[in-house]
Amino acid sequence: MALGDFSSRLSFPRKRESGPSAVTGSLDPRLRGDGSIGASLAGAEPALAVQDLRKAYGAHTAVDGVSFTIRAGECFGLLGPNGAGKTTTLRLSLGLVAPDSGTIRLAGHRVPEEAREARRHVGVVPQLDNLDPDFTVTENLFVYGRYFGLSKREIGARIPDLLAFAGLAGRADARIQALSGGMKRRLTLARALVNDPQILFMDEPTTGLDPQARHLIWERLRQLTAQGKTILLTTHFMEEAERLCERLVILDRGRLIAEGSPRDLIQTHIDPHVVEVHGEGVAEWAERHARRLCRRVERTGETVFCYDQDVAPLLADLASRAALRYLHRPADLEDVFLKLTGRELRD
């Protein structure tokens, strides 16, 4: 997308792609998804297919007629504000909760009827950490592997690679309380890989992490997709979805309101140029000038957002107004998200 030159009176450094490289390590080929299974899944069976899923809590419908299909090997995003129904959708898909109606197929199995069998092929990174605080890093992996019926020898053979992948090689015997938030998340990711799953469910994997820790998780997720794993990621960070997901759906109040690749969604739903304006008298300027010069104008508090195909007239007008400060940038997924789900607060 050629967006022309973006000028700004505020200097915002552009997002940096690369993560910190202090910790390296990749999964041993033995740990990767079985090539033959991956190949056959890629041809025929989707990793996850949900059809017309519905789940109500009392009078409140948490998931309201949701359908989507995740192809084997892709990174798929489930986006939505708080309370949109993301976690409920994951719990339904894992067979932990029975839907009021709708059908689910996970890893080739009917859910919830064959949920136990399906979960053998899935790794889960839950929204809230639930590592075992009474065990060390290594013990957590051993104990969790046992839940999958793996032997001590099988788990032991995987542990060095899992620890290296999680950047925890030097912390094998550390207590959980001694780990930082980022380390805990990485250990939870390693734990989700202990059964060598084809599919990973990740519920807001980077919420609450600092940028360094977040970039490291993103880096690891890219490695996993490169190895052929399927990832279902929920997030409310648009930047995360834009970077990682090949396709995504946006969920709001239990309903699916958009679906596509990040690029398609931006092209379909929003004008390519955004000008954010704030400063003394911005409200009056928005009413008298912005609405005339620009196709779509939105306000949140003291900031005005202007969207259009061509913002040259708007920029020319702003150039003559010393009291107003502005930022001209390309539209991103967050703009789409806010347009579709609204700007009011969600709890």
Binding site: R119, R120, N130, Y144
Partner: protein
């Protein structure tokens, strides 16, 4: 709505898959609780010895035995009950609610039924340890010298299962640790007073005696006390049946309530 009810009330699906969860609890116990076991076991011993010898000196013989001998059987049952109750209230609640250990397990190919069965088996295992420790003291002090007293160790796990199952049902509806206080104050402590642990049931007014025979602990005591004296208990079948019925109903109620709490 019907499918939801069917999901909640379906029969327990039991299998050996509970084992890794039971084993997890054992590993934690070996790491953390084993060193403090002495503390946990000292408590009932001190009561038994203090009351038994101290108070016992003031008391006449009860049914032809010294008070300490009478109290020994009560203590075996009481401390087994307490052990299973503590484990399924405080420890299980901590694993379910505070640490979310159960959530992690449920993401693996295990079901809630497996997890609840594992908690029950674990509570019975721990209470077995309490019962065994008291029995060792009882034998060491010569309070029971009959070979038949070994059979008390068969009753102990049944007591553990019964009170473990009842405790789990309470945990399933508990909003916080504070709730467990009510269970102890309103259920466990009165039951200990009504069940012939500290004094013979016959001391109670007739109405209370009828109530006492509805409580599982009375039936546990009715099995263990004769065994420590070398007698085969009268009405074994009935006592075992009452304990087993409490265990089965408690376990099923716990399952339904946990399903409602965690899976809906």
């Amino acid at each position: 709505m019907n499918t939801r009810a069917a999901t909640l009330f379906r029969a327990p699906a039991l299998s050996l898959r509970f084992y890794p969860v039971w084993r997890r609890n054992l590993l934690v116990w070996r790491k953390l609780a084993a060193p403090s076991m002495l503390g946990n076991l000292a408590d009932p011993m001190i009561y038994m010895l203090g009351l038994g010898y101290g108070l016992g000196r003031l008391l006449p013989e009860i049914d032809g035995m010294p008070y300490i001998t009478f109290l020994a059987a009560g203590t075996v049952c009481f401390s087994t009950m307490n052990s299973a109750t503590f484990e399924t209230l405080y420890s299980a609640f901590s694993r379910m609610h505070v640490q979310r250990t159960w959530d992690a397990i449920l993401n693996a190919p295990l079901t809630l039924d497996d997890v609840v069965a594992a908690e029950l088996a674990w509570a019975a295992s721990k209470s077995m340890l309490s019962g065994l420790a008291i029995m060792i003291v009882v034998w060491a002090l010569g309070l029971s010298t009959t070979p038949l007293s070994v059979a008390a160790l068969l009753v102990v796990p049944l007591i553990g299962l019964t009170f473990g199952a009842l405790g789990l049902a309470i945990t399933a509806v508990s909003p916080s640790y504070d709730f467990f206080m009510y269970y102890f104050t309103l259920v466990i402590t009165p039951m200990a007073m009504l069940s012939g642990v500290f004094f013979p049931l016959e001391q109670l007014p007739a109405g209370f005696q009828v109530a006492a025979w509805c409580l599982p602990l009375s039936h546990a005591v009715a099995l263990v006390r004769p065994l420590l004296l070398g007698n085969v208990p009268a009405g074994i079948g009935l006592h075992v049946l009452v304990l087993a019925a409490y265990a089965a109903i408690g376990f099923y109620a716990a399952l339904v309530l946990f399903r409602r709490r965690l899976l809906s």
